[in-house]
C-alpha cells in the first residue's frame, strides 16, 4: 500500500507540476523574442506584446515554482531508499539545477514580475533572455537526472552492492537517452507555448469580428505571426527527433521492452511477439560487464510479476503521435492561410477549444517514458518497490490528501487568473484601462 500511495503521490505531484513547466518554458521564449523585436524594430507595440504574454507567463511561473519546490523533497520523504542508493549520482544534477538554473531564473524573474514597467527595453530584453536561459538550463539538469534512471551510464556498483557510485560525470551529462529526452521536452514546450499564443489570439480575433479594433488586430497579428513560425519549426522537428528517439530507446542495450511496446510487438503478458532482434547501438562494444547486467536484467524481468501495462503505454504513444501530426497540420495551415484564423469563426472556435491538446500530448509522452519502464525505478538496477521510504501509511495518506486539496485550490486560482487575463487582453489605447499596475 505504501508503494502504491507513494507512486500515486509522485505521479500526481509531478504531472501537476508539469502542467506549468512547458508553458513557462514556451512562453518565456516567445516573450524574449517579442522583447527583442521591440529593441530591434524600435516598435513599442512589441514591448506591450511582451508585457501581455509575459504577464501570462508570470501567473503560470508562480504556480510552477511552488509546485516544483516539493519535487526534490519527495525523494527524501517518500523515496529514501532510492535516495540512499542513488544519491552519489542523482544528487549532483539536482544540486547543479539549483546552482546554475534556479538562481538565475528566480533572481531575474523577480525583476520581471515586480519591476519590468520601470525598465528600458534593452534592460528588459537582457532580463527575459536570462530567465529563458535559466529555464532551459533547469530542463537540462532535471532531464539528466531522469535520463540516468532510464538508462544508467557513467557509474559503478559499490563493492557491497548497496549503492551506485558516480565514475564519469561527463558520461552522465552526455547520456544519449537524456539528450533525446531533452530535445523532445524542449521542442514540445516551445510548441505548447506557440499553440497557446495562437489560440488566445484566436479568442481576440473573434472579439474583433464583433467589435473591430485596428489596434487589437495588429497586436494579435504580430503575436500570431511569431508564434506560428516557432510552432511550425517545433512541430516539424518533433516527429523527426521523436522517430530517432524511439529507434534509439528500442535498442537491446537501452530499453528493448519499451521499444517493442511502441512498435506494438508485445502481447498483454509482456512477451515480445516479434522474433527479430533489433540492432544494438552503433558503439556496440558492449563489454562483458554490461552484457552480464543485460542478461541479469532479462532474468530479473522474467521473474518479476509486474510488467508495464502494455496497452496503456502503447495507446498513450499512439495518441501522442496523432496529436503531433495534428499540430504540424495546424501550424502549416495557419502559415498558408493566416487570414482564416482572423476571419473565420469556426477556425477560431476550433483553436480555442484545442488549447488542452498539447497538454494532453505532453502528459501522454511522460506516461510512455515513466510507465513504460515499469517495474524499474532505475532501469535494470532498482525496482520501484525497493525505493520507497519506511514511513507510516497514515503519514502518506495525510500528505497525499493535503496535496490534492491544496493543488485543486492552486489550479482553480491559476485558471481563474489566467483566463481572466487572457480574455481581457492588452490595454488598448483607444479604450483606456490598465492591464496591471506593477
Amino acid at each position: 500500500m505504501i508503494v502504491l500511495l507513494s507512486r500515486l503521490q509522485f505521479a500526481f505531484t509531478v504531472s501537476f507540476h508539469f502542467l506549468f513547466v512547458p508553458l513557462t518554458i514556451g512562453l518565456i521564449l516567445l516573450t524574449a523574442i517579442f522583447q527583442t523585436l521591440a529593441v530591434v524594430k524600435k516598435d513599442q507595440m512589441y514591448r506591450r506584446i511582451a508585457d501581455f504574454w509575459g504577464e501570462l507567463f508570470v501567473i503560470n511561473f508562480a504556480v510552477g515554482i511552488v509546485t516544483g519546490l516539493i519535487m526534490p523533497i519527495q525523494f527524501g520523504t517518500n523515496w529514501s531508499a532510492y535516495s540512499i542508493f542513488m544519491g552519489d549520482v542523482f544528487g549532483s544534477p539536482l544540486a547543479l539545477e539549483a546552482l546554475l538554473a534556479f538562481f538565475l531564473e528566480s533572481t531575474f524573474a523577480g525583476i520581471w514580475i515586480f519591476k519590468r514597467h520601470k525598465l528600458s527595453d534593452k534592460f528588459r530584453m537582457v532580463v527575459v533572455w536570462l530567465i529563458t536561459l535559466g529555464t532551459t538550463i533547469s530542463a537540462i539538469w532535471i532531464i539528466t537526472a531522469n535520463g540516468f534512471m532510464q538508462h544508467p551510464v557513467g557509474y559503478e556498483m559499490a563493492a557491497d552492492g548497496s549503492k551506485v557510485l558516480l565514475t564519469n560525470f561527463a558520461e552522465v551529462v552526455a547520456n544519449p537517452y537524456s539528450l533525446f529526452m531533452l530535445a523532445h521536452t524542449l521542442l514540445s514546450a516551445f510548441l505548447l507555448g506557440a499553440f497557446f499564443v495562437v489560440c488566445v489570439s484566436a479568442f481576440h480575433f473573434m472579439k474583433d469580428l464583433k467589435a473591430p479594433n485596428a489596434e487589437r488586430t495588429a497586436f494579435f497579428k504580430k503575436s500570431m505571426t511569431v508564434a506560428v513560425i516557432v510552432g511550425l519549426m517545433a512541430s516539424i522537428l518533433i516527429p523527426i527527433e521523436g522517430n530517432a528517439y524511439a529507434k534509439y530507446l528500442g535498442q537491446n542495450d537501452v530499453q528493448p521492452l519499451k521499444g517493442a511496446i511502441l512498435r506494438d510487438q508485445v502481447d498483454a503478458n509482456g512477451q515480445m511477439t516479434s522474433g527479430e532482434v533489433k540492432e544494438t547501438s552503433k558503439e556496440a562494444d558492449i563489454d562483458a560487464k554490461s552484457e552480464a547486467t543485460l542478461k541479469a536484467a532479462a532474468d530479473n524481468l522474467s521473474n518479476l510479476d509486474r510488467k508495464p501495462p502494455v496497452k496503456f503505454v502503447y495507446y498513450s504513444f499512439l495518441i501522442m503521435q496523432v496529436l503531433g501530426y495534428f499540430f504540424l497540420g495546424f501550424f502549416l495551415f495557419l502559415l498558408l492561410l493566416p487570414k482564416l484564423l482572423q476571419k473565420n469563426r469556426l477556425v477560431q472556435k476550433i483553436a480555442i477549444y484545442a488549447i488542452p491538446l498539447p497538454y494532453i500530448a505532453i502528459t501522454l509522452g511522460w506516461i510512455v517514458a515513466e510507465v513504460g519502464r515499469q517495474p524499474w525505478l532505475v532501469y535494470n538496477l532498482m525496482t520501484v518497490e525497493d525505493g520507497v521510504s519506511t514511513v507510516a501509511e497514515s503519514a502518506v495518506w495525510f500528505s497525499l490528501f493535503t496535496l490534492i486539496v491544496f493543488y485543486i485550490i492552486l489550479f482553480a486560482m491559476d485558471l481563474y487568473l489566467l483566463m481572466k487575463k487572457a480574455r481581457k487582453g492588452p490595454a488598448l489605447e483607444d479604450k483606456g484601462g490598465v492591464v496591471n499596475e506593477s
Partner: protein, 338 residues
C-alpha cells in the same frame, strides 16, 4: 584532497548555504508577518509586499541549494532526515508554497476580496515558516529518536518546550530584521513605518535575548548538546561562537533601541546563522544525531558521497556560488535606490 577533507569542506559549504538562506529569509518572512501591524493603508501595505516579492524567490533557492547539496554530498543524511520528519516537512512545504504563490499573485488581480485573501495568507504563512524552522532545528540538534529500526519518534513529539522556545526565537529574529527591512525599503512611506517598526523590533530583541539565554542553558546541561559535544570539549576555542551569539543578541537590543535600521538589520541577520552553526558544530561529526544512542546517528564521514562526486561538486560550487553571489548582490544594490 582526501575524502575526509572533502566531506568537511562540504559540511562547511552546506552550513554556508543554510546561513545565507536563514539570514536573508528572516527579513522576507519578517516583513510578511509584520505587514498588517505596520500599516492598515492598502497602498502602504503594497509598498511592503513589493520588495519582498522582488527578492523572495532568489532567496528561497538558497534553501533548495542547502537541501539539494545535502542530497548530493550526504545522501543518507538527506534521505533519513526527510523520512524521519515526514509530516513536519510536508507542513513546511505547504507553508512555503502558500507564501510563494500568494506573494506572486496577490496583485495580479484587482478584485479586493482576492487581494485580501492572498495578503492574509501571505501574512500567516510568513509567521508560521520561521516557527516551523525553529522547531525543526531544535529537534535536529537535540537528536531524533533514531534507533535500530529507524525513526521511533511520533509527529507530535517534535513539539516540546525547547523546540517551541526555539520557534519563538526564530519568529522574533525575523521580526527584528523584518522591521529594519520594511523601514529601509519603505521609500516615501519610510517615516510612517518607522515608529511602529522600531517599537516591534525592540520588543522582539528582548524576546530573542531571553530565548537565546534559555536555549544556551538548555544546551549546557549534561544531556544538552554542549554537554555531549565532542568538538566543544576538544577545542574550547569554539566557545567563542556562543559568546559571539550572546554579543550579537545584545547588539540587537542596542541597535533596535537606538533605531538604527542598517545595524539592526545586519546584526539581526547574523543571529540565526550563528545559532545554526553552533547546533551543527556541537553535534559534529553527526549531521543527524540520535537521541537514543549516538551510534544510531548518521555522521558526515559515513554519509558522504564518493570522493569523485564530492570533487566534481566542489569545483562546481567553487565556480558558481561566487557568480550567484555577485548577481544577487547586484540586484540588491541596483534596486535599493529604485
Amino acid at each position: 584532497m582526501s575524502h575526509d577533507v572533502l566531506a568537511i569542506i562540504w559540511f562547511a559549504i552546506l552550513l554556508t548555504a543554510w546561513s545565507v538562506y536563514l539570514a536573508f529569509e528572516s527579513f522576507v518572512v519578517g516583513s510578511g508577518m509584520l505587514q498588517p501591524f505596520i500599516t492598515k493603508d492598502k497602498d502602504a501595505q503594497q509598498a511592503i509586499s513589493r520588495p519582498a516579492g522582488l527578492h523572495w524567490d532568489g532567496i528561497e533557492v538558497w534553501l533548495i541549494t542547502a537541501i539539494g547539496g545535502t542530497f548530493a554530498a550526504f545522501p543518507a543524511v538527506f534521505a533519513k532526515t526527510l523520512e524521519s520528519l515526514y509530516v513536519a516537512f510536508f507542513l513546511l512545504l505547504i507553508l512555503l508554497m502558500i507564501r510563494g504563490v500568494t506573494i506572486e499573485l496577490a496583485y495580479r488581480d484587482e478584485n479586493p476580496l482576492w487581494r485580501k485573501i492572498m495578503t492574509r495568507a501571505w501574512n500567516i504563512s510568513s509567521l508560521l515558516i520561521p516557527l516551523v524552522f525553529g522547531v525543526y532545528f531544535s529537534n535536529l540538534f537535540g537528536g531524533l529518536k533514531l534507533g535500530a529500526n529507524g525513526n521511533e519518534g511520533k509527529f507530535f513529539e517534535i513539539f516540546n518546550l525547547n523546540s517551541i522556545v526555539m520557534g519563538v526565537l526564530f519568529v522574533a529574529v525575523c521580526a527584528i530584521t523584518g522591521s529594519a527591512w520594511i523601514v529601509l525599503t519603505g521609500g516615501k512611506n519610510k517615516d510612517a513605518f518607522k515608529e511602529k517598526a522600531y517599537g516591534i523590533a525592540f520588543k522582539a530583541s528582548i524576546v530573542v535575548a531571553l530565548a537565546v539565554l534559555y536555549e544556551m542553558m538548555a544546551f549546557n546541561t549534561g544531556e544538552g548538546i554542549f554537554g555531549r559535544s565532542q568538538l566543544f570539549n576538544d577545542a574550547p576555542i569554539l566557545w567563542a561562537v556562543p559568546v559571539l551569539l550572546v554579543l550579537v543578541t545584545l547588539a540587537n537590543i542596542l541597535f533596535t533601541r537606538k533605531k538604527s535600521a542598517w545595524l539592526s538589520l545586519i546584526f539581526g541577520m547574523l543571529t540565526l546563522p550563528l545559532l545554526v552553526i553552533i547546533g551543527y558544530l556541537a553535534n559534529y561529526p553527526y549531521m543527524l544525531p540520535s537521541s537514543i544512542d549516538a551510534k544510531f546517528g548518521i555522521n558526515l564521514f559515513d554519509a558522504a558521497s564518493s570522493q569523485y562526486t564530492l570533487t566534481v561538486m566542489f569545483y562546481a560550487a567553487l565556480i558558481f556560488v561566487p557568480i550567484v553571489l555577485v548577481y544577487q548582490g547586484w540586484k540588491f544594490w541596483y534596486f535599493a535606490k529604485r
